[in-house]
């Protein structure tokens, strides 16, 4: 009898071209698809040019400009920065010469890679997608094994449609029960990272399970899988269900007609066997989760908004104490300060974690009829040009503009500040992004991660606050 397998095992097995060692831990893995961006791909293309190698299957790759482009409300093809201009130009040249479809900045489907791929129906259950961006784990929401790779592996993928892959260990994270009203997908994943640490899932692929996960929308699941990499996971999966199939159905690049029926029949089988054994099990009761914010410079330095900035003196592990002291010094925070008294200068709603239509609706519901606090600069950067149009069709742009937010063009923007959307030294930002690293949003900038609704509430209050209190009007 065959051994019980996890969904992760099944995806790796179904994509194994050959074993590269005796016990099958190292395999040559077939990759279904990739998405390329302008800043991690150029050296991969150069290497192919130098070796005279073509792309193995150019139709299985898509390019989208997202990391370096400006997001000013009037969109032009020209990049203000010479380096960004050269990257966009070389990217266009590479996509053309290697036969790869490109969404450049003026393309109506342009957007952040991990927003674009699912929204046009290029992410399908059962696939393996590797891409030159760590947040490729997002695709796990579809029962797709997605993981980030470096530029050398982009080259390897383009030339061979495969990667040399080492099988990961498996971790199941079960979130059962009902999330309290006002608690979002972002809070679930932030609570997980706080619990297991920034390397708690290093070497693992996570499968998310439990009733609180199946109750989430597909976009909520994307948020969770997206940020699983902040716990070190190089793969995050949710077994696909009817909600996923409905989300994909009818999207422009999704299978149609008889192929659709055939695909769904196969996708229904994508789940871990009931008796599959995981290397690690984590249980996170849904009812314990509160709206979360980070207070430090690593995504695991987080706490429920009702708590205070922790005191390093109470930390018994000397390494962790040193890291906490350094983080608090960088963040300009004193131990014991209630988190909801932290005053902000900036508010940013954007990124591949939280800039999809549901995120914008959720944030708009908080700001509707209110105004951004004086002294706060607040921005909304939709995840894609498609999301932007949809939000405008629903009138969300007006809600944000009337409240004093800037309504901008799509891109990665101030999530990593490769373009001109940058925090100044010492500026403090409530941000719906994924990383609060030192300098991530600009040298000397201070980032507090939270859900888009929490960012919206912070923008209105001028300080971090519990969105549930903000909505009630305090």
């Amino acid at each position: 009898m065959a051994l019980a397998r996890t969904l992760y095992d099944k995806l790796v097995d179904s994509h194994t071209v050959r074993h590269l060692d005796a016990d099958g831990r190292r395999v040559l893995l077939y990759i279904d698809r990739t998405v390329l961006n302008e800043y991690t791909s150029p050296q991969a293309f150069t290497a192919l040019r130098e070796a005279g190698r073509p792309a193995w299957r150019p139709g299985a790759s898509l390019g989208t400009v997202d990391h370096v482009n400006p997001t000013a409300s009037h969109r032009v093809a020209a990049m203000p920065d010479a380096g960004a201009a050269r990257q966009a130009e070389y990217f266009a040249e590479n996509c053309r010469d290697f036969g790869i479809e490109l969404f450049d900045v003026l393309h109506p489907l342009q957007g952040i890679e991990h927003v674009v791929m699912p929204e046009i129906g290029l992410v399908l259950p059962g696939m393996v997608i590797a891409a030159g961006d760590s947040h490729t784990t997002t695709y796990g929401a579809f029962g797709t094994l997605g993981f980030g790779i470096g530029t050398s592996d982009i080259e390897h993928y383009l030339a061979t449609q495969t990667l040399v892959y080492k099988r990961l260990k498996s971790m199941r994270v079960t979130v059962d029960g009902d999330l309290a009203p006002g608690v979002r997908a972002k809070d679930v994943v932030m609570a997980l990272i706080r619990r297991i640490g920034a390397s708690g899932a290093t070497g693992y692929a996570i499968e998310f399970a439990g009733s609180a996960i199946s109750s989430l929308s597909v976009e909520g699941r994307m948020t969770i899988c997206n940020m699983a990499v902040e716990a070190g996971a190089r793969g995050a999966l949710v077994a696909p269900d009817q909600r996923v199939f409905e989300y994909i159905k009818g999207r422009p690049r999704a299978p149609k007609g008889r192929l659709w029926d055939q695909a769904v029949a196969a996708w229904r089988l994508l789940e871990s066997d009931a008796d599959a054994v995981f290397d690690q099990e984590v249980v996170l009761p849904a009812s314990d989760i509160e709206p979360m914010v980070t207070w430090g410079t690593s995504p695991d330095q987080a706490a429920p908004i009702s708590m205070k900035v922790p005191d390093p003196v109470l930390e018994t592990n000397p390494d962790r104490r040193r890291d906490m002291e350094r983080a608090l010094a960088y963040m300009g925070l004193a131990p014991g300060m209630p988190l909801d008294t932290i005053v902000i200068d900036r508010a940013f709603i954007g990124s591949c974690t939280n800039a999809r239509i549901e995120d914008l609706r959720d944030a708009a519901a908080v700001v509707r009829g209110r105004h951004v606090a004086s002294g706060v600069r607040a921005m909304v950067v939709p995840g894609s040009s498609t999301v932007k149009r949809q939000a405008e069709a629903e009138g969300l742009d007006r809600v944000f503009l009337d409240a004093g937010f800037e309504w901008r063009q799509s891109g990665c923007s101030m999530c990593l500040a490769m373009n001109d959307d940058v925090l100044g030294v010492g500026e403090r930002c409530a941000s719906s992004t994924n990383r609060n690293f030192e300098g991530r949003q600009g040298a000397g900038g201070r980032t507090h991660l939270m859900s888009p609704a929490m960012v919206a509430a912070a923008a209105i209050a001028g300080r971090l606050t519990d969105t549930r209190r903000a909505v009630e009007g305090e």
Partner: protein, 199 residues
């Protein structure tokens, strides 16, 4: 790819946890289309910022470091391979730590940068040894999988055989895989036949 056999050099200790690739290679150095010009970018804010005098890589003898003894989860965050290219251009040949982030670990292997994983107590020992300027020199012997110091210190390490082979021989990974071209084609035909909606 540069091969790695036996390398002797100064080791510097960078004990912080979760040193991310934004810190190793800040965004302003990511605007190129080639791999060059990244030497100045490595740990830029630490090497050139306000507390630069304290930073280990600005002090003797560690400014000549060839190895870094690092804290847990080194290289977390962004997939940017620029971090590894920059470390190489700075002269770093090996990293020794308790854990490395997955993408970063693979990026190291593709660029001849040896990442060695040891137990926390071994890292503590090494940190103490290399933090003394008089005993900061180590020798890493990859074929024999040892770290040694003139004092007699000797630590054996594990490495996956596939990784070791490609590092020692400096193999071209793409060229090696393309030797399996026919196997890939055959797999692909069968796979797309079974999953026709992907063809």
């Amino acid at each position: 790819m540069q091969s790695f056999a036996i390398v002797t050099g100064i080791a510097a200790s960078l004990p912080a946890s979760n040193v991310d690739t934004d810190v190793i290679m800040p965004k302003q150095f990511l605007k190129g289309v080639d791999r060059s010009g990244l030497r100045d970018g490595v740990f830029h804010d630490l090497r050139f910022g306000t507390s630069k005098a304290d930073f280990v890589l600005n002090r003797n003898p560690w400014r000549e470091a060839r190895f870094l003894v690092v804290g847990p989860n080194f290289g977390c965050g962004s997939s940017r391979e620029h971090a590894v290219w920059g470390l190489g251009q700075f002269g770093i040949r090996a990293l020794i730590g308790t854990s490395f982030a997955g993408i970063f670990f693979d990026n190291c292997a593709h660029n001849g940068l040896l990442a060695i994983t040891l137990e926390p107590d071994q890292i503590e020992t090494l940190t103490a040894v290399v933090s003394n300027p008089a005993s900061a020199e180590l020798t890493i012997d990859l074929p024999n999988q040892t770290i040694t110091a003139p004092s007699g210190l000797r630590i054996a390490f594990d490495i996956e055989s596939g990784r070791k082979e490609s590092l020692v021989l400096g193999l071209d990974a793409v060229g090696t895989t393309l030797q399996a071209r026919e196997a890939i084609k055959q797999f692909e035909r069968g796979y797309l036949r079974e999953n026709p909606w992907l063809a």
